[in-house]
Amino acid sequence: MKTVKQHWWKALSVILLVYTFGFSFLVPLSPSIKSATPSSLEIGENKVILTGYNTGFTADEPIHIAIEYDKQTLLCGTAISVLNENQIEASFTVPDSLPSKVLHLRLHTTRFSCFSPELIKAFSIVEAPADDAQCSSPPLASSVPLDIPNRLQLNETIRNLMFHVPMWFTMMVILSISFWYSIKYLNTFDLRYDRIAREAVNIGLLFAALGLVTGSIWAKFTWSEHTDLFTTSGWWVNDVKLNGAAITTLIYLAYRILRNSLQEANQKAKVSAVYNIFAFVLMLVFIMILPRITDSLHPGNGGNPAFGKYDLDSTLRKVFYPAVVGWILLGIWMLSLKKRISTLENNLEDE
């Protein structure tokens, strides 16, 4: 019973991470239309080929396509023919009174419905709202299957959300623990606290490295045009959050170098605790102030929609929050193991 009381959180961490990995890698992406050729409509009849992802069209199912602007249906697709499981051809007849706008596309079948914002452009002479077209719609699917949202540009990389973002949360938690134990050390001069602070920095650096790697891969395939793996461009962009990450990594690498360049254990502990406190506070200031004066490509900054808006829908929330808790608990578990190892090593040295 005592074991259960002491170690339940480790079991929780394992369960949450298994859930996270299972969900992130096994659940398919929701069907979505990714591109339209030609991507701009002209007055008269247009034959447009729509390419989707995970759509699985079949020739005999009813498909309904509407082009919308501002929640108003403007055009309906007619003469829809299925080319293959991910491609359909539809024809749109554009009247001469369509607003010259970037339009959204909505597609329904009996199995799923999807919405692709800003997919197709229309140009016409008269800037006036068209008549509210009413398209005949097939009955909607009664049960929506479990899937991960499929966003333009993000595509499959959305799964990285469960790995990249929790890395930084975990790093901040672990570094805060280090900060706390450095303060405790300066109050008591007990070397045990210094060992915890040191090991926490090591674990924090590991999570920072993982965060940088996962973020770099994500940036390469969403923000960059160079998605070829063997080019150097696109792995890094100049963004305030990336700078914050780089600075944090540099500060704690410097902390390790400072420790290694001091000899005597008490002096090492005292000097590095002072630097740890000084640097951590200034790093927090950086993370809080700088995003206020500069834009970022990250969600929630510089006009980009925040997590709450549509990036993190209710399906993703069900995995994202457990993932964060799971990774943080894993970090703390690693820290407790490292603490025990360093205590044992210290005892060996003393003998």
Binding site: S261, Q267, A273, I277, V281, I289, L290, I293
Partner: protein
């Protein structure tokens, strides 16, 4: 008591500086020769933001050099004795104040030399008072951070190398803010437009001084 010790410490620092004139002259020469080397590479910079960034990089390296010796003397026994007579908090405040005055003098000198050697066409609508304020606030946070970190670095053998490694990452926020702030001043911004820079830089400066004040005694007991 605090004020009296502080005044005595500043007097002592000044006498030391006057005795070792070679030190201050070497820093001045360092600044002039760095700027001269830059002017050989680009005599005129059309882009004011590059002109500004170059200016701050030169200031960063000059001040790192100038302040790295703050706690170098303490290893001699006599210095150690003198410094144990006073409160360590007086010592860090005194060192920060002294380095602040030194940095402002060096930065003003760098500005004069820099504008003489490296021209930029876009400097005509510069708001000089605002630029001066940016330089003062920026060099305050540079000099106070560098003073505190040089106290940490002086505990190791490789003083200036460790100082740069330890100080540069934590200096980046204030450097970035100062560069943005002085860019605004160069483009003819007004004090109202610079409000958030003034507030943030002052807050960072205050925070650095409070942290140094709180943490230095732990370093000093070593």
């Amino acid at each position: 008591m605090f004020a009296k010790q502080l005044v005595n410490l500043l007097k002592h620092e000044l006498t030391l500086e006057m005795k070792q004139k070679h030190f201050i002259s070497s820093i001045v020469l360092y600044i002039v020769s760095t700027i001269f080397v830059c002017s050989l590479s680009f005599t005129s910079i059309s882009e004011t933001s590059i002109w500004n960034a170059l200016f701050w990089i030169i200031i960063l390296f000059s001040l790192t050099n100038a302040i790295s010796k703050s706690f170098l003397n303490e290893n001699s026994d006599k210095q150690l004795f003198l410094y144990t007579l006073i409160n360590p908090r007086v010592l860090i405040v005194g060192k920060i104040l002294y380095n602040l005055v030194l940095s402002i003098l060096l930065v003003v000198l760098s500005f004069v030399v820099f504008t003489i050697f490296i021209q930029s066409d876009g400097l005509t609508d510069m708001n000089y008072w605002l630029f001066f304020l940016a330089v003062i606030l920026g060099s305050t946070s540079l000099s106070s951070t560098l003073t505190m970190v040089s106290a940490i670095a002086s505990k190791t053998n490789n003083n200036i190398g460790i100082l740069s490694i330890l100080a540069f990452p934590i200096l980046i926020p204030s450097i970035l803010l100062s560069i943005e702030f002085s860019n605004l001043a160069i483009n003819g911004g007004t004090t109202e437009m610079a409000g958030q820079f003034i507030v943030f830089l002052s807050l960072i400066n205050l925070l650095i001084i409070i942290l140094s004040f709180l943490l230095f005694p732990y370093l000093w007991r070593e």
